[in-house]
């Protein structure tokens, strides 16, 4: 069983926690040993959120090691750009094309990096960068906060696991009244990347 290390980076309120919970549970369903770690202390205050999910035969540390990530899911462009140190040759990087400018940028005191800058930073570290209109797709379906599920849909073809397995976990973790929409969001994401 090959180890798979997945990193997720976003901003508080973007749904990274739900997405990482789904990923972890899918890993278990597929028979992996799974560990997951989050740092979200100040997340509600608009801070950075990072989440590590590791699948493998036997996983010790709940943290992905630098230079070892197999996947990076960037929920926000700037947050994705912070992780080149964790990439290796061929790391799949999905970036949601969406910006949330931090305070210094709003105040005109710092510059938000351009798409080209972000892309070359991550490519330079070995990343295979794929842009996803996650927030756009989720917004069209009725709730931009479902961006995480769109990203999961997109990466699901690469990670493997039958559609039923993903759906089963989504069914278990998403509250009933948002379930149908989230399933749609997942399928919309899944249609984006054919492995």
């Amino acid at each position: 069983m090959k180890k798979i290390d997945i990193l997720m980076a976003g901003v508080g309120g973007q749904g990274t926690i739900l997405a990482s919970n789904i990923l972890a549970e899918v890993g278990l369903e597929l028979g992996y040993d799974v560990k997951k770690s989050e740092v979200h202390g100040m997340a509600q205050r608009g801070g950075t959120v990072e989440s590590h999910v590791r699948w493998g035969e036997k996983v010790y540390a709940p943290l992905v090691e630098q230079g070892q990530a197999d996947y990076l899911l960037g929920f926000e462009m700037l947050e994705a750009a912070r992780w080149p140190l964790y990439l290796k040759e061929g790391t799949v990087v999905l970036i949601n094309r969406y910006r949330i400018p931090p305070p210094a940028v709003n105040l005109g005191k710092a510059k938000y990096p351009s798409e080209q800058e972000i892309e070359s930073l991550l490519k330079g570290a070995g990343g295979r960068v794929i842009w996803i209109e996650g927030t756009g797709i989720a917004g069209e379906l009725g709730n931009p906060a479902m961006v995480g599920v769109v990203l999961l849909g997109a990466v699901s073809n690469l990670l493997g696991g039958a559609e039923e397995v993903w759906m089963k976990v989504i069914q278990r973790l998403v509250p009933e009244k948002f379930l149908e929409l989230n399933k749609k969001a997942f399928l919309a994401g899944r249609a984006l990347i054919i492995s």
């Binding site: 901003v11 919970n21 972890a24 549970e25 278990l28 040993d33 799974v34 560990k35 997951k36 770690s37 989050e38 740092v39 979200h40 202390g41 100040m42 509600q44 205050r45 608009g46 801070g47 950075t48 010790y60 540390a61 709940p62 943290l63 090691e65 630098q66 230079g67 700037l78 947050e79 750009a81 912070r82 080149p84 140190l85 990439l87 290796k88 040759e89 400018p101 931090p102 305070p103 210094a104 940028v105 709003n106 105040l107 005109g108 710092a110 510059k111 938000y112 990096p113 800058e117 930073l121 330079g124 570290a125 070995g126």
Partner: protein, 587 residues
């Protein structure tokens, strides 16, 4: 059946499975979810105490009565509870008592990085440290039994990484033990439970004897184990650091410690004699290393690994390679990536007050007043940061009022404000407030009342009228409480009303009297109110930047005017009030 649980969930589950019936805590990252989760199990009583010391005493009381109890807090909470912890070590208990300390290496959300393993040695009690959620669950049971066998409270240490990581846990088929049919009988035993000097002197030798017996126990408990491997390097590690070390040294011989105090001297000697080099890998203080060296064992440790900050697999690998313990593949690519990342100078994303937060208006008024503002810990601490820049000290919970009083007594001529949140006030603000009155200062105390413990994720507190287990209860009325202490000058203001708050503050600061202002506005995240965003007329906007000085994220600088992001904005109207050009129009 296996289930993914965070360390905190697993501790709560372990407590429930092992018949804990009383839980008490005060919130604090990364400990909060322990009591949150425990409170939801059937047949248990769980509470948010006003502070950690009260929580500790509640747990001790339950254990005196023979009932198993769980008390949990963040590392600095143990400082608050320490006086009680120390006497409980002397008296011992009847039922098992476990105190969970959740340490925060790396200070993800704390004011310091203290290593609470030192408390075990200091207070002379045993401490366990699990390395994943399954162990967290099991160790609670072991700790409870140890507590009852050895007649002592037992500490269980977790760290942020363990508390907030999910790993799989075996779900028990068996139900927890049923509650005893009869209420517990309290056995009166003054010699054991009344710590007057004469009794305490009798108890101290018992404590010393007990810790020796616990060290014997540590020799044989299966939670301290040698994991044989290549004997060139022998690694000693505990907790989450053990997992990092396992990633880096897959084939080495390990001594995995589940019990970090007291240490098993014979087992350590035996381990040291079978390996060539002993390496202690531990985060923060050289707690294990110093004791191991005192046993005469040669060991490496803090000469390789830092004493500051959180570890990670990468850090353990990098330091081990530098010390020649392992050879690592060439890191040219990593260096290039690091250099590129640094060159990109990505803007940081610090936490900020939420759009619509009542604290923002309050700090705006503080800044304009020019007063010295002595602060405290909570969401409102973010008022220290630019552009609000209106808090000048923050130390620990409850410090602000006393510090303000002291600065005043030193003779400083500034006008002085002490500010603290409502939960912080109940935690440790009442005593210093009494001091202000009793010893006659002129401090103006502002209670930033958002009617919930917001910082740690919206827990109830004695002012909300709701308990942890969601029962309706009596709410302590802040205004009545403060008046009953003897404060005559007390006002309640809405921090959304900048002029009103500024006027009241000016009146209080100039009154020459001790006084209290309650700045009341429910937390927007908790109240989930959504008001309409105002609009900026770009024709009228003179681009003066006044509104940006509020430090509110929906306000964005464009080329030569400012815009408002209507999705982020909560329509509090502060920017409408401060705009000198009247370019921002409420809707």
């Amino acid at each position: 059946m296996k289930k993914l649980m965070t360390g905190n969930e697993a501790i709560a589950y372990g407590a429930y499975l092992n018949g804990v019936r009383v839980g008490a805590a005060y919130p604090g990252t990364p400990s909060t979810e322990i009591m949150d989760n425990f409170s939801g199990y059937p047949g248990v009583f769980a509470e948010w105490a006003p502070n950690e010391k009260v929580a500790m005493d509640v747990g001790i009381g339950a254990a005196y009565a023979g009932t198993r109890a769980l008390v949990s807090m963040k590392h600095v909470g143990v400082n608050v509870a320490a006086d009680s912890l120390f006497y409980a070590v002397y008296t011992g208990l009847k039922g098992g008592l476990v105190l969970v300390t959740a340490d925060d290496p790396g200070m993800h959300s704390s004011q310091n990085e203290q290593d609470n393993r030192n408390y075990a040695k200091f207070a002379k009690l045993p401490m366990l440290e699990p390395a994943d959620s399954e162990e967290a669950k099991q160790f609670v049971g072991i700790a409870l039994e140890m507590s009852e066998t050895f007649d002592t409270p037992v500490m269980l240490r977790t760290v942020t990484r363990l508390s907030h990581s999910s790993t799989s846990v075996e779900i028990s088929e068996e139900a927890p033990p049923a509650a005893p049919p009869e209420p517990p009988l309290y056995e009166r035993d003054a010699v054991k439970f009344v710590m007057v000097p004469a009794n305490a002197r009798r108890r101290h030798p018992v404590i010393e004897e007990r810790i020796k017996k616990l060290a014997e126990y540590a020799e044989n408990t299966p939670i301290n184990r040698i994991e044989p491997g290549d004997d060139t390097i022998g690694i000693i590690a505990a907790g989450s650091v053990y997992q990092y070390a396992r990633e880096v040294f897959p084939g080495a011989t390990f001594l995995k410690l589940g019990m970090v105090y007291p240490l098993p001297a014979k087992l350590l000697q035996q381990f040291a004699s079978r390996v060539k080099t002993v390496v202690v890998i531990e985060e923060l203080d050289p707690f294990l290393e110093e004791q191991i060296r005192l046993m005469g064992i040669e060991a490496r440790g803090k000469d390789i690994f830092p004493i500051i900050g959180e570890f990670s697999p990468a850090l353990v690998r990098e330091r081990s390679a530098s010390a020649g313990l392992i050879s690592t593949p060439a890191a040219a690519r990593a260096e290039a990536a690091a250099a590129a990342a640094e060159a990109a100078e990505l803007p940081i994303r610090p936490p900020i007050l939420c759009p619509g937060c009542g604290h923002r208006g309050m700090f705006h008024v503080f800044r304009e007043s020019g007063a010295l503002v002595l602060g405290d810990i909570g969401c409102y601490t973010l008022g220290y940061a630019p552009p609000l820049s209106a808090m000048h000290t923050t130390g620990c919970m409850g410090a602000g009022i006393g510090v303000a009083h002291g600065i005043g007594k030193a003779g400083v001529k500034d006008r002085i404000i002490a500010v603290l949140g409502d939960s912080t006030f109940f935690h440790s603000g009442i005593h210093p407030l009494i001091d202000v009155l009793y010893n006659e200062s002129t401090v103006t105390v502002v209670i930033a009342d958002n009617s919930v413990t917001a910082m740690t994720g919206h827990q109830q507190h004695p002012g909300t009228g709701i308990t942890l287990q969601k029962k309706t209860t009596k709410a302590v009325n802040l205004e009545q409480l403060v008046r009953s202490l003897g404060f005559e000058k007390v006002d309640i203001c809405d921090p959304y009303d900048l002029d009103g708050l500024a006027k009241t503050l000016e009146d209080h600061l100039e009154s020459g009297k001790p006084s209290v202002i309650i700045a009341r506005r429910p937390c927007v995240l908790y109240a989930k109110e959504k008001r309409t965003a105002p609009q900026i007329d770009p024709e009228l906007c003179v681009n003066c930047g006044t509104c940006l000085e509020l430090g509110c994220s929906p306000l964005m600088q464009e080329e030569d005017y400012v815009t408002i992001d209507p999705i982020l904005c909560n329509g509090c109207g502060l920017c409408v009030q401060v705009c000198p050009a009247e370019a921002i129009i409420a809707r």
